[in-house]
Amino acid sequence: MAVGKRVIRVDARAKADGSAKYVADMSMPGMLVGRVLHSPVARGRITNLDIDSARKIAGVRAVVTAEDIPGGNICHIVIDDMPLLANGEVKYTGEPIALVAAESRSAVEDALEAMNLQIEQLPPLTDPEKYADPDSPRLSGKDNIFAHHKIRRGKTDVAFGKADIVIERTYRTTYQEHAYLETQGMLAVPTQEGGIDIYGSMQCPFYVHGAVATVCGLPQSKVRIIQTTTGGAFGGKEDVPSLVAGWAAVLALKANRPVKLILDRSEDIISMSKRHPSRTHIKLGADKKGKLVAAEVDILFDAGAYATLSSVVLWRGTVHACGPYRIPAVKIDARAVATNKVPCGAYRGFGSPQTLFAIESAIDELAYKLDIDPVEFRRINILKKGDKTVTGQKIRSSCGLEECLERAVQASDFINLRKKLHSEDSPVKRGLGISTIFYGMGLGAGGTKLARTGAYVSIQPDGSVQFAVGTTEMGQGMRTVLGQIVAEAFGIPFEKVSCLPVDTSRVPDSGPTVASRATTMSGRALLQACTHLKRNLAKVAAAEWGTKDRIVNIAAGKAIRTDNPDITIPWNELAAIAFDKKAELTVVAHDSSPPTSWNPETGQGDAYVVYSWCANIAQVAVDTRTGEVRLEKLWAAHDIGKAINPTLVEGQIEGGSVQGMGYGLTEEYIIDENGIPLNPKLSFYYIPTTEDAPTIEPIIVESAYDKGPFGAKGFGEQPLMGIAPAIANAIFDAVKIRFREQPFTPEKVWPELKGLDNED
């Protein structure tokens, strides 16, 4: 049995010993170096771009501007507003303007300089709150609004009238940079038939496939995308690789040579997507007994210069904006607005970390206002089986939030530990904070068009099994987990199964690898394929035995006669016979997600097919002398349906939690009022190091999802999502000061502490 086991990742050894090939490690005969000329300013008109001089530099083989793009100058994501290369005007610092391919990096650099880019600057809009000001430039449509989502449930004005306590608060979050260790990169190779092959780092090969065909003006049949070993993504390689692949592709076609284009770190930080900065205003009311009665939430996301994924990111943020609580009356308005800054996009959590920070902080604030313990307050209000979410969706099954909460409380010995921490006499004050959150697994009603997967499974004559899927491995362990699912389906040893690299020419469009959907959705398609193959094998065994198919069972790695279980054909023999008999041993299966429903006017419906659940308890230390906050310990309980591989599940919990800690404490990407980034370097954008990382106790809760493979439901994003509010709540517990703007840097914390007694 493979499911539930801590098998070693299939890709671990090659990655550890340096033999795994990332796109930067690849080379091809005649390969050129590609690079991009980016805008150094946030808004303006291009007044000079000297292409001829660039072309004359020795070693330069191709120079491409908007005019030279063979197909459409568009990077299709949701709304077609973003060009592959700026056409006459630029809208953000870092916007791509021109491309060069040359024999050497130095020739490329010389060519970029020779272009002598000149831009007539225009005043930029950098403050999202000024999107509607008459003086602000119009960057998108009439109103600078890319998306407006609503939820209307019950009558909030009436409900607030019945509340005993109402609070109104505003919370803010800033950018988060993915800081995947491997920067974006692509290798484009023109084919003999006039098509193009793309190798590269990406989450969503089928996005790239469509985008490259469009910009190259090629039929999709002549474009092939092969994902290379991908060095981290976290959402940052969802949509923007379409740009990078498009750049490499048009250069390669123009030069008729392979072109490798790898972004430098600063270039990557400046020009690639980020988590949306946000402002969330919450009005939240409860009765004396602690029951939530109403919520009104107004959300503003700073989307940047182009729409990209903002509408769907905002949708998830909206659906999660009231947390995992029963609230009978809710009114939510959420807007994503245009600014002259880098287009924001997908990042682990996809709009929900912003709104969950707000609601989880507000829930805590209201609990203290009511003088109810924050754990108890959550016990009263969290969603349980049979309850309805704020979108009116009934939670029918797979609801482990209560168990998560109780197990985290128990594991941390919450009550006693809190007492002990509060009794310490030290300038370093300690406290415990809690967050309870949820995650709508998969694309949900916001992405039904994309909610499909395909899987290819092939039993080899020697009994080993090859499979391929269209979702991608980016570090999370998908190839291993899916291999476990296939092995389990046949009842064969895990070692017999191998996963092929993702290649758009091998498997049908499987939608994007986002929304924590790969295990569940590719797992479902694989199980379909396996079921089909098992039927074929049963026929083979039945023929061998001269019996009917229906009394043959394929299980535990053999064919078994149900009328006499002692009669079996072992797996390898069965495969060999099946091959001999020319049975169909290779199948491609298609799956589409279980249905969802949505009314965009009321924001009511079954938003997601299932939810994962999580409770975090954070122990922080606040140094009252310096304002420094440390996350010392974290208990993180996650209901994921079924842990196919507990080691990999823990890896997601630990890694996501530390990213969430960075979001809460140290990570601050600053774009100034002129739209210029101030710290686009890893030396000034502080992600956690070994010395910052806390002790983490992962707690796995398994409340099975009946439509998931072996009960599993995705959760890879969830570990990040509730950490910042748990830290904020713990800071409050430690020093009784509420921070409503992440990250909680000493520069913000210290001024509030200043009045306190901070003697040694």
């Binding site: 801590r6 070693i8 990742r9 890709d11 671990a12 050894r13 090659a14 990655k15 550890a16 010993d17 340096g18 033999s19 795994a20 090939k21 990332y22 930067a24 490690d25 130095s106 993915h178 800081a179 995947y180 260790l181 491997e182 920067t183 070993t229 991908t230 060095g231 981290g232 993504a233 976290f234 430098d264 770190r265 980016m474 570090g475 999370q476 362990g477 080691t647 990999l648 823990e650 890896g651 630990e654 890694g655 996501g656 939690s657 530390v658 990213q659 370097k681 890893l682 030396s683 992600i687 956690p688 190091t689 070994t690 010395e691 990382a693 002790t695 983490i696």
Partner: protein, 156 residues
């Protein structure tokens, strides 16, 4: 300009550009692509190698400075006792996710275990503080180094 040095125990003699970094000649001239470029400014440790046995960021070492010196990369260290033990332990502990930082961590951990065969958790945290990992949260990396240390001790 011409330089001579040893790479993973083998002598090499090559013509280099004065602008070349050690990282560039490893990856482009010697096809040793296990050493990665993550930031180009010595911040992430993905390009970690050993120079005369000392841990360095190969993105900040001008290639001309390795003349007459000895360089060890992941491709050499993976054949050593400590390197093998670390790779096994990283695999077993689940210390690898996207893997882009992993060779750098193995190199930095080798440097640590060579000078300090039985490090404490806090010594491991300090020794690996210049290697960034965005996936794992470090817990399993630290466990892996402790495990490798234990395994090596048992074997000796």
């Amino acid at each position: 300009m011409r330089i001579e040095f040893t790479i993973n125990g083998h002598p090499v003699n090559m013509e280099i550009d004065p602008s070349a970094r050690l990282l560039d000649i490893l990856r482009e001239n010697l096809d040793l692509t296990g050493t990665k470029e993550g930031c180009g400014e010595g911040e992430c440790g993905a390009c970690s190698v050993l120079l005369d046995g000392a841990l360095v960021n190969s993105c900040l070492v001008p290639a001309f400075q390795v003349d007459s010196r000895s360089v060890e990369t992941i491709e050499g260290l993976r054949e050593t006792e400590i390197g093998k033990a670390l790779i096994d332990a990283f695999c077993e502990s689940g210390a690898i996710q996207c893997g882009f930082c992993s060779p750098g961590f193995i190199v930095a951990s080798t440097a640590l275990l060579r000078s300090n065969p039985e490090p404490t958790e806090s010594e491991i945290r300090a020794a690996l503080s210049g290697n960034l990992c965005r996936c794992t949260g470090y817990t399993k990396i630290i466990e892996a180094v402790l495990l490798a240390s234990k395994k090596i001790k048992e074997k000796r």
